[in-house]
Amino acid sequence: MTKMKKITYSQAICEAIDEEMSRDKNVLILGEDVGLLGGNFKTAVGLYKKYGDLRVKDTPISENGFLGMSLGMAITGLRPIVEIMFSDFLLLAADQLLNQIAKIRYMSGGQAKVPLTVRTTIGAGRSSAAQHSQSLHAIMCHVPGLKVVVPSSAADAKGLLKTAIREDNPVLFIEHKMEYNQEYEIPEGEYTIPFGKANILREGKDITVIATSNLALKAVKAAEELAKEGIDVEVIDPRTLIPLDRETLIASIKKTGRVLLADEGYERCNISAEIVMDVMTDVFYYLDHPPERLCLPNVPLPFSPALEFPLIPDQEKLYKRIKKIFKG
């Protein structure tokens, strides 16, 4: 048995960065407030003191600028980790991310590799209103050239982030901002988790729930409730959207005949549409029920918590939706 310890999600992220920085002197971190403050979400606490100003760099509020700078570092031999505070702000740096970072390796005929990790956050629930609460990972998945990671638990976040940092191609690493202060059990010591390997969090035979980011953990809780009522839910965390572990998803849907996808992005053009379409030719004749999804409704997120929470997919909404599928 692996020895476990209790730490928060942000500590797990910090630990991954710390371990990789001490392992490889080419790894460095930059972004808004990652230095003196230790990160807006406390994901770089103590790193500035340990590695100094050159390897832990505070940047101006200029996403396009410092993302471009990171690309320069990456193609000239460094292994930067960039923090973009909110995925909403990725749009400011969309040209660097989607036109430059995603394409340089291809356009240089493989002469330049881009070992760059872009970390950002998604998720509503902090009364941050419409421009600081979005989950924009589906937009980033549209353009070829990036690997996109959406970890659920702290343990997964640590293992996957270490893999991202060691990856020679650009990785967009998406953390859920409501998880940072949550405590988790994670294995002691160093470990990595490979990309393209979905995690079956709970085995079941009646319905497959494919849930991204922290919704995977909420789905497990909903599943435990549903189990008491005789509905046996299989919960799968795809872990990485690109590459996607089709085989695991297909095998599960073939087994259960039903699939519900849960993702905190807007419903329209949600990543769930892409996942369903991707596996449909393999699973069509195994479906007992049309695929369903639980996402954020197609409206800007309100500031008022009273209006905000009813919109966010959560454990209770998952529970109700699955119950409805089995109502007959």
Partner: protein, 447 residues
């Protein structure tokens, strides 16, 4: 008060019975103790009597269906009594979802896939019946017709579970004991070939399966002598030990028949086989020599009016002999079609009891396995069986215009086994000679 007629338990070992024939129709008035239907156990066919007088209001189980003992199979009641609750309750017990009509099950089997598709589209047009893709796939795989199914999925859609439930209730016949054992051992009943009546999976089938998997690593394989194997064994032992067999073999020159069939089959899509032709000629000879077409029943010899020719079909689990009824009234092409259909049904384990009962003479052909000559055991209560060997090209002496010369001819050996209690050597010889007479000069068939 309305009452159920239930599937009776007629012996200690009987856990279910097959409805063979309804002797009464819905609406018929019935006296107490009057015979209403016939059932078949693994041993015999028995009539079932009415438990009370009244009107036969509802038949719940179609002919050919297998029902566990004590479950309701019909309802007797007064003319105007409301029996809808009883019908619901009965169908629930029987695990049925729809009203079963008499004789329908057999017709269903014969519906071709194209027609099923058309009907499916029809029903979708009319009622917008929802069937999940998974259910459609399963239905195709199991050969379940979707039309009569009720769905339990969302918006009343038919889902896989409905297909499987329907299939288990209607197709795989499983005894309750077998089902329990299979569930405990984690065996998928769908993978087991049943050896009971209508391919029913019995307790012994499951035990054999378990024994097999346990003994894979041992040097010798043992299975219990039960099911179809035992039925065949018992019947043949009974035949061989009670009926004194005598055997007569002759060689028949089949060159002309082969030439004739080649010409028949040249432009025809429905090919006529040597076996089909043999059934045709045997029937002809039997109609000329009715003293072969007989049975010993008790103290009497019964000479059958009908000529019903059985054709032995080898299956993995044993031998089965589907019967072509009234073969003497059928043309060669109709015989050929019917034989093909019956063999197909036999291989698919879909033969109904009436398909293999009532034979008066049997033909067993091992020619396709290259066997030159063999003797067969009479299939009781018949009095004779013809064993047919392979057609082989052999040098033989041919007479032509008073001259003898050696030529190559297609020769076939046939051996007739007869029950000497009923048939003497001269009669058997005469039968074979007549067979040879037609087969060597098939032109004579039109004389």
């Amino acid at each position: 008060m309305a009452k159920y007629i239930i599937m009776p338990k007629l012996g200690f070992n009987m856990d279910q019975g097959t409805v063979v024939q309804w002797l009464k129709e819905e609406g018929d008035a019935i006296e107490e103790r009057e015979e209403v239907l016939e059932i078949e156990t693994d041993k015999t066919i028995m009539p079932v009597e009415a438990p009370c007088s009244g009107i036969l209001r509802k038949i719940l189980v179609a002919e050919g269906e297998v029902v566990p003992v004590t479950l309701p199979i019909a309802i007797i009641g007064d003319k105007n009594e409301d029996i809808s609750k009883m019908i619901d309750e009965a169908y629930q017990k029987l695990g049925k979802t729809e009203v079963v009509e008499k004789k329908e099950s057999k017709v269903e089997i014969e519906v071709s896939p194209e027609i099923v598709k058309e009907q499916e589209i029809e029903s979708k047009k009319e009622g917008f019946k929802k069937v999940s893709p998974r259910a459609q796939r399963k239905a195709k795989e199991l050969g379940v017709e979707l039309q009569s199914l009720k769905g339990s999925g969302s918006e009343g859609a038919v889902i896989e579970k409905d297909i499987i439930t329907y299939y288990q209730n209607h197709q795989i016949k499983v005894s309750p004991v077998a089902q329990t054992i299979a569930q405990k051992a984690g065996i998928d009943i769908g993978t087991i070939k049943g050896t009971g009546i209508n391919g029913k999976v019995t307790k012994r089938d499951i035990q054999e399966m378990l024994a097999k998997s346990e003994e894979v690593n041992k040097t010798e394989r043992r299975t219990s002598y039960t099911g179809m194997r035992k039925i065949i064994g018992d019947r043949l032992s009974q035949s061989k030990f009670t009926a004194p067999h005598i055997y007569f073999t002759t060689s028949i020159d089949m060159s002309k028949v082969i030439g004739l069939l080649e010409r028949f089959n040249q432009d025809s899509e429905e090919k006529i086989s040597i076996n089909d032709f043999l059934v045709f000629v045997v029937t002809k000879v039997l109609s000329e020599q009715p003293n072969i077409n007989c049975s010993l029943v008790g103290e009497e010899i019964v000479y059958h009016k009908d000529i019903n020719v059985g054709v032995a079909v080898a299956l993995e689990e044993g031998l089965i002999v589907p019967v072509i009824k009234n073969a003497n009234k059928k043309s060669l092409s109709i015989l050929s079609k019917e034989i093909k259909k019956l063999i197909k049904l036999a291989r698919e384990r879909k033969l109904m009891p009436e398909d293999y009962q009532g034979g008066t003479f049997t033909l067993s052909n091992l020619g396709m396995y290259g066997i030159e000559n063999f003797t067969a055991i009479i299939n009781p209560p018949e009095a004779a069986i013809l064993a047919v060997g392979a057609v082989k090209k052999l040098p033989t002496v041919i007479e032509k215009g008073g001259l003898e010369e050696i030529g190559i001819r297609s020769l076939m050996k046939v051996t007739l086994s007869v029950d000497h209690r009923l048939i003497d050597g001269a009669m058997a010889a005469s039968f074979l000679n007549r067979l040879k007479y037609y087969l060597e000069f098939p032109e004579r068939l039109i004389l």
